[in-house]
Symmetry: C7
Subunit: 95 residues, 7 copies
């Protein structure tokens, strides 16, 4: 992808229309408006904390759950993406 | 479990319908709407503080009491879980 | 006790109905609704500050005065307790 | 005194009814409701900052001026006291 | 350029009237009022964090996406620019 | 003076009724209600930052300009003083 | 100048009535009420961060752009000045 996130930001592609994902996670009714699961597309180089760069804990291809109502939507070559902070990712879906 | 929490997050399975748990804890009336006791299902790798990773102080299988009105609800394979921050756990129930 | 507080949390048993305690402390009228004196039942392992664990400054059996309108009430084997942060304890009653 | 303040807390005995104290300080009209001068009765062991304990800069017997509308009132053996943070003391009255 | 940003500030020239940029990024409808893509014109020397200067992660000529409703508009020799903080840049567009 | 400020506090004597001071500073109209210039009477020992005591940058006798609407007024032997934080001093008037 | 700013404060002389300055910067209409360009008159010794004094990055004579609606106005020998924090300077105008 031609977009490189800065610092600890993460670009994700989220699943907007599915109620139940392939891996079996169903988000509860109250969160139906905007699905919270997504695939990581690109990650930044990490956040500098106390003079050390702390790398982002996810990598492209990871499936993640993130807090909804977070991040900035962008469109790239006809596709919608979301740019979120790494801290807004709450869990990784392991297969 | 196929969900791996990030950082200091903890996935718990809470007890929604019991008034009195096996270990004898009864939550007071004012907190009846949402039970505060839960079992730890999965924990993240810890939070980075001052350049050191501080591990989460609970482990899968622990029974914990946590502040209600906290965390994010998720559904996984038909079961409801709650993802909370380790800091929101106030006590561990020892048997 | 089977409850182990996490971090710098402290479980106390407070005195709800007495106006004057054995040690002679009377709380002023404006704080009559909820007595501020209590006995420490269990303490957590301490808070991590700048990479070092700072132990809680009170121990089980201590009588303490704490800021009212703080903490989380729990019931355990028919008794009510309060879980507070160690920082909310303002003084220890020495005999 | 049988009360030992925790951390950087200070127990003071304030002068409620005097308009002019022995040492000659008169508080301006706008602060008449609650006198800001007091005598230090007991001090805590200090606050931990960056891993070091910073001792409280006043000692029992000191006369101090403190910001009004601060602290927690307690009654002990029929006397009223105020528990304040050491940071709320703005000046010491030297004789 | 004769303007030198201070600290971690970045001067950018943004694209106000295009809906679709050359590199193919289209911002979603809700952000049409002010385009979020821009070219970096000048960067400051960096922010001092914990006694070390952390350099800005973008350089003049970079195309960046930044959070809208941020920064200060200035006019220089008839052209409008925006001065933003480096932290408000969320991604770099790689060609 | 018999008052010793604590930490980084500074006791100043301000000029309430003059529009133009001896050194030629006139405060603009919008700040006429309370003159911002004062003479330093006493200073505290300094603030502890990162384990080191940072001394106050002014000394008794200095004429200073400080932000209005700050500090605590006290009366001492018939005179009004103001206790401010050293950080609220914005400039020293050099003769 | 007889005024010495404290810490990281900067005294500037701003241009109130010009729409277009000599160096060619025109502030956009929305900022016409108070011009954002100024000349640095005097600078403080710097801010103490993590025990080290960080010097101010501008010097007397520099022309700077600063965020409007910031700082404190003072009058000195018939001239108006503005005292701002060094952090409120966003760019230096190089000739």
């Amino acid at each position: 992808m031609a977009l490189k996130p800065v610092a600890d930001r993460v670009i994700v592609k989220y699943f907007e229309t599915e109620d139940k994902t392939a891996s079996g996670i169903v988000l509860p009714d109250s969160s139906k408006e905007k699905t919270q699961q997504a695939e990581v597309i690109a990650v930044g180089g990490g956040k500098v904390v106390d003079g050390k760069e702390v790398p982002v804990q996810v990598k492209p291809g990871d499936r993640v759950i993130y807090g909804k109502y977070t991040g900035t939507e962008i469109k790239y070559e006809g596709e919608k993406y979301l740019v979120i902070n790494a801290d807004d990712i709450i869990a990784i879906v392991k297969d």
